[in-house]
Symmetry: D2
Subunit: 149 residues, 4 copies
Amino acid sequence: MAGVNKVILLGNLGADPEVKYLEGEKVVANLRLATTESYKDRSGNRVDQTEWHDLEMWDGQAKIAEQYLRKGSQIYVEGKIKSDTWQDENGQNRKRMRIRVNSFTMLGGKPEGNNPSPAPMNNPQSKPAPAPSNTGNKPLDEGEDDLPF
Amino acid sequence: MAGVNKVILLGNLGADPEVKYLEGEKVVANLRLATTESYKDRSGNRVDQTEWHDLEMWDGQAKIAEQYLRKGSQIYVEGKIKSDTWQDENGQNRKRMRIRVNSFTMLGGKPEGNNPSPAPMNNPQSKPAPAPSNTGNKPLDEGEDDLPF
Amino acid sequence: MAGVNKVILLGNLGADPEVKYLEGEKVVANLRLATTESYKDRSGNRVDQTEWHDLEMWDGQAKIAEQYLRKGSQIYVEGKIKSDTWQDENGQNRKRMRIRVNSFTMLGGKPEGNNPSPAPMNNPQSKPAPAPSNTGNKPLDEGEDDLPF
Amino acid sequence: MAGVNKVILLGNLGADPEVKYLEGEKVVANLRLATTESYKDRSGNRVDQTEWHDLEMWDGQAKIAEQYLRKGSQIYVEGKIKSDTWQDENGQNRKRMRIRVNSFTMLGGKPEGNNPSPAPMNNPQSKPAPAPSNTGNKPLDEGEDDLPF
DNA sequence: TTTT
DNA sequence: TTTT
């Protein structure tokens, strides 16, 4: 019964986060993260292999993502694999895997050129916040809420 | 370009490994691994949440899996996320995620009752082997050289 | 400023946990964990290499350790490296590294023979508890306190 | 006997790597890596807590470190804990922990200002090399074979 | 669709 | 002794 399901990713966002404000104070952000592995094939040519990951962040974390992450941002992520299953319109069973993010760390990378500042907030009542660089890896006494401020 | 794509799992196999011998000495094993997380919901009831993972092992690792792993075996796994994409019969884009295993460790757990001994080998010329408890974590002198070029 | 400091261990305890009850409801448990790597040297002989780790757990986690972990117990651990520095009696700078445990999972293994049941509690007012198999990897809504019950 | 001993670090180098060329083509690099965790204490003040790690790299990896890493470089590291024990001049048992690096990835960060280009090589016969961004995570066909015997 |  |  005891289990471990852990994912560690380091890569760049393929697009700005997509953030949705749901009922009851819930917020969810969806992000696309590319992790690229580079190696030489047998003929000596360098090959880049990119894997795309669907990330899901909630609440405080989602708001931080919305404020600070942009297309191109480089982040380190810890999370877990989470799959949804459903039936599609043809009655076939479908499955979709996602990474549920537990914590992430911004590493710099270069956000998009002509909009270097944080994007306008969708959430008007959100308070201004200092730039965080880390979410989730909190000291134990304060628990693992997702808001570093 | 620098990227990290790492998965760490600890759980039990839902079935015996499925092993295929391909041309050119290639061997592949597919396994289903369950990782179960147990927590109490807001009404205080214990809830088990199980995630199923599709694992893929190759060559020497696949043979070890075939010899030593069974439905119910408990293993620790390191690997990476790997997705295949294709078009289904309706012309829709489909995607399937898998864990490409880099190394695994057998932890005991309980193999199935009435077939406690290793399953018959599909591969007649395979040599008998001592029971390993670890794959992939190689000694320094042999393993992983460090030059990416 | 952004940093990651993460340790993942899987091994067996070299002794029963040492638990101390401090003032103000604080509890700390110290444990010795062995991780053994097995490989063949260049002459083909199997070599076991064991590394011993000093683990530190606090509060709820420490109590779970006291109740359920014994010499020989096999556990999976996530934590971080934490060092103390001080001057010894000769005025020399000394440093000691420890693993501060964030979460652990019991994997079975074999507790000591003649005392198979949980050791008597040092802490009289502690309530009886169901056997947990996992600490720390909690759903986000409940945060990362260490008590699974 | 099966064990896991894994360390994941992300931080900045406190100094240039120290590289030693030993007999028989062996090369070792020692590095100091800082991982900084940032959190708010109970009075709401932001606190930075830095842990310093001693890293050890060998051979090809050591050469890459020598060529490309500098004081201030930001890297992601995977490795394992490795301790040496000895008796000091007072006859006391001493222990020293180190991280034996299995692979690392350069993340940018800003190398020192007035010496932006790679340092001169200590190793005259080394061939010029393209800037790598990743070590150790090898392509499947070459890397990590899977047979521990 | 990212990054170097 | 790093970094933001």
